[in-house]
């Protein structure tokens, strides 16, 4: 199971980094989403991976339990990344409508000769 989770985090991160390094807004947003999925799984596994165990203490604390804190952390992280992605999409749309291009880099001069949209 460690192998599955670890390679999933790795693949998501690699894909996310690749997409973030694109110049266009849409791939960058997708890449950031992939990165946030990767980090959510990563946080989830930071409290050790356990199967079929409750995230609460049993009576007298003798039985095993899975660490509940990463689950709380990951919930916070999911909510925040969800809200941030929504803001990012809105700002990207605003930037596209204002400037007529979805390129992420800020060019020195305002004319983008190779930009097909203009």
């Amino acid at each position: 199971m460690e192998l599955v989770v670890a390679s999933a985090i790795g693949v998501l991160t690699a894909g996310g980094v690749y997409l973030v390094l694109r110049l266009r807004a849409f791939p960058v947003i997708l890449g950031l989403s992939l990165l946030s999925y990767a980090v959510n799984v990563f946080i989830f596994s930071s409290g050790q991976l356990a199967v079929n165990l409750p995230p609460i203490l049993q009576k007298y604390g003798e039985a095993s339990y899975t660490d509940p804190l990463p689950q709380a952390l990951v919930l916070t992280a999911i909510v925040i990344s969800f809200g941030m992605t929504a803001v990012l999409v809105m700002i990207a749309i605003g930037a596209f409508l204002d400037s007529g291009t979805d390129r992420v880099n800020v060019s020195r001069d305002n004319s983008d000769p190779e930009d097909p949209v203009k």
Binding site: I43, Q48, L49, S64, I80, S99
Partner: protein, 548 residues
Amino acid sequence: MSHWIIAPIILPALLAPILGYVMRHDVTIARIGSIAGTIAMVAISAGLFASAAGGDITVYRLGDWPAPFGIVLVLDRLSALMVLLTSVLALIVLIHAVATNWDAKGVHFHALFQFQLMGIAGAFLTGDVFNLFVFFEVLLIASYGLMIHSGGRQRMRAGLQYVVMNLAGSTLFLFALGTLYASTGTLNIADLAVRLQQIPVEEAGIVRVAAMLLMIVFAVKAALFPVQFWLPGAYSNAPAPVAALFAIMTKVGAYAILRVHNVVFGPDIEATGDMAGLWLFAAAIVTVAIGAIGVLGARRLLPLIAFSVLGSMGTLMLAIAAFTPGATTAALYYLVHSTFAAAALFLVADLIVKRRPGDSLTTLPATVQNGLFAALFFGAAIGMAGMPPLSGFLGKLFVLDNLRAPGQMAWAWSAVLAGSLVTVVGFARAGSALFWKSTAFVLPENTVTESEEEEEVPITHEPARAWEVAPTMAAIGALAALSVFAGPAARYLEATSDQIIDRTGYVAAVLSNPDGLKPYPKPHDAEDGGYEGDIAAKDDDHTTGEAH
């Protein structure tokens, strides 16, 4: 338990929705509400500052849960100083924004402004690294809105870049926190400090990764090389009052390094050693150089100021990287100074740029009140560049005086001194182009003025009213006051840096339990259960957690 500690977070958090939902239709009411709230925040943080000045560390337990389990807010000299600095700066910036009508150029300026204050105050007060992440997000999401306030093509694109950069930084922050939790099993700063001391060097690999990841995240916020590249674009395209407020945002990163890398990953901790200081020092040297070269090479006024902010962050980080009491005192002095200097520069630039077509440093006919603007710019520029008599000179002298270690001195002194010289030249060139040559300049008939923001920005030719100039003067006045009262300020900051470096005092204050609750119940032993994964460091620290 005093409830005033949480007031700097609660007050803007409650005020912002009221401003956003109830007062948004009437700009006058929104202005009154926002300014009144910020004045109240200055008063509250002054009170907190006075109560922390005695040296007590006050802990506010949210939900009354004891420290390692619940989230705590910690008020010590450092956090009180930072919150006071934030609120005073916010008041200055807010008055400028209202006086120059910036706040009416888009919607929800005041609500976003208050949310921004909430995030910054929370980041300074919290005693939990995950909570620090949450407050970082609060201040960032408000800053995204403020950054693109009033719109415009160039600003929207710079805003998009700023958001993307910071979202990537946030993801990295979460990776760092996950690594830290996996290796220590806690996220409370004081508890982390205890556990880090118990991790032996040979098992410290993961912790070192977490320490470096956290340092990179804070370096993104503080705009250190090699993650400094977002700052010039963001600051020079943000509305000028917002850029002035952002002067405190880079300091949030500096504060986080000061706090976390002193208390948790301090240089005397075996697991991490002086690794953080070495990397910070090298990065800070390069940042100073980039800032200075950027100031010299800038062809527009706002990027020039943004690069000078970058240079000042480099100087600040040089002092922080030393991790000695003296250098930390110098860093705190320079931190207060550079916040006001950067704000003053952005505010005066706003007054000038409004009266010129664009902010390019070309010679154009003089604007109204050329002498006044020249004097203000001159004052703010000598503060930022580090010339006497303002506090920039004392701050840099203070920093250099404390960087005398053999491997340090040559690099730090030459970087700061050469950087200052180049910055002085850059500012002098900008000032002479803007104010001096322009008095004898008549626009030739057939010249087309090169204007980078050819869009909607209207040029006013009205003289600035007293209210518009007052915030800039207040910021420069703060520099002068910091220079005049350098002795008392340095003594206070010396006590502050002693408190930062005194790890045991912080840990004892946060982890103490006046109610007699047991700080650590019997930790559950993970080894006998059905865990499939078995991380050795985690099990170790369960047993060490029991020990105290």
